[in-house]
Each structure stands twice: as C-alpha cells, then as structure tokens.
C-alpha cells in the first residue's frame, strides 16, 4: 500500500520541490540583500545597542524607530508580496493535495479498481493520509524554516513578529495550517466526491476557521499582561522588542488615562520634557498610557498553541474522512 501511495503522490512532491527551489532562490537573494541593508544603514548596530531593554528613551533615539521605519518602508513591496504569497501556500496544499485525494478516485472511476483489491478502506485511507501528511510536513516545514529566516530582519526592523498576518507566516504555524487545509480538502472530497467542489469548500472553510482562530482565540491563549507608563516622560515601551499590543483603547491600540483613572482617549500619547503647556492642559499632570499586550517572549508559546490547535483539527477531520470513506461512501 505504501508503494501505491508513493507512486500516486510522488509527482506532487516533485512539483512542490520545484516550486520550493524557485521560491528558495528568490527568498535567499532578497533575504541576503535585506541583511546587507540592515547592517549598512546602521539598523543592526542600533538594535544591538538597545538589546532587550523593555523601556527605551525615544528622545535619544534609543528605539531605532526611524531606522526601522525607513527599513520597513524600503521593503514595503516585498512585505506585501510575502503576505499574499505566504497566506496562500497552506491553501494550495489543501486544494491540490487534499481535495483530489479521494474525490479524484470517484471522479475517474478508479475507486472501483483500488477499493476492490484485497486492502481494507481503512488501510488505504491511513496509508494515503499518512503519505501526503508527511509530504506536507516536509514541504511546508522546510518552507516555513526558510520564510522564518527571511522574515528575521523585517521582524527586527518593525517589531511586528507577533502581529496579525505576520505571526501567521513564520515559525511552526504554516505547517499546522497546511495540515488543516489538507485534512479539510480530503474530507470535502470524500463527502462531495468532486474535486472542484471540494476545492471551493476547502478555500471557504480554511479562511473562515483561520480568521476565527486568529481574531477570537489567539489573543486569549495566555492571560494578557497590562502596563502603564506616564505620558510626560521620554521613555516608552521598546516597540521593536516585538510585543503584541492587543488593546486597552480598542482593538490593537492602547488608551490614555488621567491621574484619577478616567479614560481620556484611545491611542498613545507622549509629551517628553520639557513638557508643553498644551499637553498639560489636555490631559493633566499624572496622565498615563495604558496597554494590554502579549509580551514578545511568548511568541513561541503562541506558535506552539496555534500549531497544536490546527494539527488537532486536522487529525479530527482525517478521522471523520476515514470514517466516511468506510461507512458512508459508495
């Protein structure tokens, strides 16, 4: 059975390898170039100097924000390309490896050939699923390693590794997403018996679940932290550390409170000394910024949790698909 599964899917792995090779060249060239720019512009040196300080004196330029912003702006196009490209990859696995796995057998009538050999459907399903799931882990895993390397300078320059969409492109989550998309495609293919329909179901289902998890579940994997820091000060939290600002004054923004704890407005406000009178008139002495956030060092904990969620979903879907194949399918 392993022989058959390999013979049926080795072509898919080969195409993935070719695509990966092309992507690897592109990522290697641009990734190396970004690293040169980071060094040449002084951004790397600046970041090294600040190190892991949680508060930085932005008046003295300790936050490296100008350098970082300039760097991120310079590579804006690449970042955008990355966002689109890298959101799509797990979906491709679901559409082209998952959806046809069972559906194509019914469509081409080869179910009548393969399921009348002396092999139970359970064994057929477990071998096929294991083969393509392993291919997914290898292909998307190596892809994720490369993308994670590629993203490192952008992460450092913008401190955005933990942000929505950026978090989703690197680390271990792409493997979890891809396995989930694969399992969704397989199940949709088993139930609909049609590759195209299964592809459509996979796209919609994948985006819905991804969105729901990212927006409603992810901020709550671990209890968020809170911090307060004065408005009239020249130090602020080190943005390039990569904390994930969740809220305080609305989705993704903090809030400004007066000395008595009344919320004045959303956002952040800094009045470094010498403090202007207008600032005092506006918020009063003793005003502070309030933020709810997930600290940067939780990045890998969050990656692991989110990966585990999607792997668990994938396993459930594959079990349902195997059950369907054995008990419900023609």
């Amino acid at each position: 059975m392993i022989w058959l599964a390999w013979r049926q899917h080795r072509g898919q792995l080969l195409s993935a390898a070719v695509a990966f090779g092309l992507l690897a060249v592109f990522l290697f060239v641009t990734g190396t170039s970004m690293r040169h720019t980071s060094t040449a512009s002084g951004l790397s040196a600046c970041l090294d100097q600040v190190g892991g300080a949680s508060m930085v004196n932005f008046v003295k330029g300790e936050g490296c924000r100008e350098l970082g912003d300039a760097f991120a702006a310079r590579y804006f196009g690449l970042r955008l390309l990355g966002l689109v490209l890298f959101t799509v990859v797990p979906l491709l696995v679901g559409m082209f490896w998952g959806a046809p796995l069972i559906a194509r057998e019914s469509e081409r009538g080869t179910d009548a050939l393969v399921w009348t050999q002396s092999v139970s459907r359970r064994r057929w399903a477990s071998t096929e699923f294991a083969m393509v799931a392993s291919m997914t882990i290898i292909a998307v895993g190596s892809y994720a390693v490369l993308v994670t390397w590629w993203y490192a300078p952008l992460n450092a320059a913008a401190g955005e590794r933990f942000q929505w969409l950026i978090f989703d492109q690197q680390g271990s989550v792409p493997v979890g997403y891809a396995l989930f998309a694969f399992a969704l495609g397989v199940l949709a293919g088993a139930i609909t018996g049609r590759t195209l329909r299964a592809m459509a179901v996979t796209v919609v289902g994948f985006l819905v679940v991804r969105f729901a998890v990212a927006v409603w579940l992810r901020p709550h994997y671990l209890a968020a932290l809170q911090r307060k820091y004065p408005v009239m000060s020249s130090t602020e939290p080190n943005r390039l550390l990569g904390d994930w600002l969740i809220g305080g004054g609305g989705p993704g923004v903090g809030a400004v409170y007066d000395a008595l704890g009344h919320k004045l407005k959303g956002g952040q406000m800094m009045c470094p000394p010498p403090v202007a009178q207008a600032c005092i008139d506006q918020v009063g002495r003793g005003a502070y910024n309030f933020e709810i956030y997930q600290p940067a060092h939780r990045f890998w904990a969050f990656q692991s949790i989110e990966t585990a969620i999607f792997v668990a979903l994938a396993i459930v879907l594959l079990f349902v698909a195997a059950w369907w194949l054995e008990h419900r399918m023609a």
Binding site: G11, T116, V119, A330
Partner: protein, 298 residues
C-alpha cells in the same frame, strides 16, 4: 455447498429512489452468469453491492458466505472489472501489475505478464495511451491475477468495437474454462452472452425478473404460433409471457413444464435473446422458477 453469490432481500436506495429492491438471488459456484436488463435497471448497483463498492440499504449480499465490504479476505477471492474498465491513466501497465502484487495476497505476477505478452500489450506503456480493447484486457488481467474464485464484470465490452469485443470474450471464456471459476457478467448486448453463459439473471425496473440455468429456462419456454385468437388461455401452459397478433396469426411466448399438445399451435424452441427480450417487454410476467406452480394454479 457455499453459494458463490447470495442476495437476500437486497435493496439499495439513492436518496428517495431505489436503484435495486427486494432482490433475492443465488448463484452456485461454477456458473457463468449473465446479468441482463435495460439501462438503469440496477445491474451496476447489484454488481457494486456484490464486490463491496456499495453498502446495501436493505437486506444482505454475500460472496462465499462473506461480506466483502468489511472483509479484505473476502475481497481477495473476488476479481472485479468495473464499467469502462477504469485504470490509473498515468501508471504504466507494469506499475499496475506491481500495484496488484503489493495489494493482493495470491497474486499471479508471472501469469499476468505471460497473458499480456501473448496479447502483445507493452508493459512500459502508460495505460492512458492504450486502446480501449487493450485497456479492457489489462483490467481483465488484473482481475484474473488475483486468482479469484468469483469474477465480476460490469459491461466490460460495452465500449469496445465488435472485434475487440469478440477477442475479449474469447480470452475471458478461455480463462474461465481453465480455472473453473464463477463469473457474473453484465451486458445489455444479449447476443454476446448467448452460448457463453449457463445462468441467467434478468433485472428490470430495479427488480429480479427471471433467474435460473439457461438450458433449464430455455427448455421450459416455447414459442407458439397459430391462427389468430384473442383468448390467451392455452391448455398445459403455466404462464403466457408475451403475446403478439397479426391479422391472421397469434404468436405467444409461454412457460410450460409439459409439452404443448394442442394441435392448433405450431411449437418452436426459444432462443436466449428472444426469451430475455420477452421478459423485459413484459415486466408483469413475473419471477421465474422458484417453486413450480401447483396444480391448483394451473
């Protein structure tokens, strides 16, 4: 003796419509059974149920007393050639043989290669590039290499030209004679089955209409030709299957265990095709043999 195929109250529903219903039949081992019926009568459904590709909605179907759907060892005893003889188009013939070898416990690789060699089918050709006749032969080779005790073929010759059809059936019958296996073969081309099958199942409107050994069926049916009459009762006849009239003449296909003695009729023996067509034309003629009708029913 274990029956090669046995169905009891078998039914398969697709949504609200029945593809097959109340089907009870048995085929003892060693027969070559023809499954005939119009398109949509449920032939493919019955055969797919037999090889475990479908699950019954009602009743049960067994091959050699086992249910292949849940039992790979039962599948190992069955060879199946599906409609349009599906094969993996991007596999070479040799790769399909390897697949069979890996997936079946009693695989006869040497025999399969030998058979394809005699048919001059190149092993290194992708099956998608074979002719329809060659594909059918490859599919039959795969089914035979399993060394099955029961061979199930669903319209294997439907898409073949007459010459390829003749070759295929000749090859099939050769193998059957060699091994003494049980065969169920569906077709809507009755002429193909005549002289090749010794057992007949007629399916019509999702039900079994006639069932039995061909020679026995033929010996119990007669064609009567006589002067026109509208009274359809004939002395000594069990069932009148079909009647047709011309201005001066009446022709009847009848079932009778005894010889027809009425001198006003000319009696002819019946052919398989005539018999099948008569039953298909008259779905109400009912089931064949079962218990013979009693005196009272005559």
């Amino acid at each position: 003796m274990t029956l090669a195929l046995e169905a009891i109250g078998l039914g398969k529903r697709y949504g609200r419509t029945w593809g097959l219903r109340d089907c009870s039949l048995s085929i003892p081992p060693g027969h070559v059974a023809a499954l005939v019926g119009p398109n949509g009568a449920g032939k493919t459904t019955l055969l797919k149920l037999a090889v475990g590709l479908l699950r019954p909605s009602a009743g049960a179907i067994r091959t050699f007393g086992e249910t292949p759907r849940d039992d790979p060892s039962a599948l190992a005893r069955i060879g199946f050639v599906g409609q349009d003889t599906p094969l993996y188009a991007d596999f070479t013939v040799a790769e399909l043989l390897t697949m069979g070898e890996k997936l079946n416990p009693r695989w006869d690789q040497a025999g399969a290669k030998d058979r394809l060699g005699r048919l001059a089918i190149p092993l290194d050709r992708k099956t998608g590039r074979l002719s329809g006749g060659q594909r059918a032969q490859v599919a039959l080779t795969l089914a035979l290499a399993k060394q099955p005790e029961l061979l199930v073929l669903d319209e294997p010759v439907a898409s073949l030209d007459p010459l390829a059809r003749k070759d295929f059936l000749a090859a099939l019958m050769g193998s059957v004679a060699e091994r003494g296996l049980t065969v169920i073969l569906s077709s809507h081309l009755i002429a193909d089955l005549e002289h090749r099958c010794d057992y007949l199942i007629v399916l019509s409107e999702s039900r079994v209409q006639a069932l039995g050994q061909v020679d026995e069926l033929l010996s119990r049916h007669w064609i009567l030709v006589g002067p026109r009459r509208d009274d359809e009762r004939v002395a000594g006849v069990d069932v009148v299957v079909q009647v047709s009239h011309t201005d001066r003449q009446t022709t009847m296909l009848v079932r009778s265990d005894a010889a027809i003695t009425d001198p006003s009729w000319t009696v002819h023996a019946v052919g398989l095709e005539e018999l099948v067509l008569a039953y298909l034309a008259e779905p109400s003629a009912g089931m064949l043999p079962g218990p013979r009708p009693t005196e009272g029913q005559r």
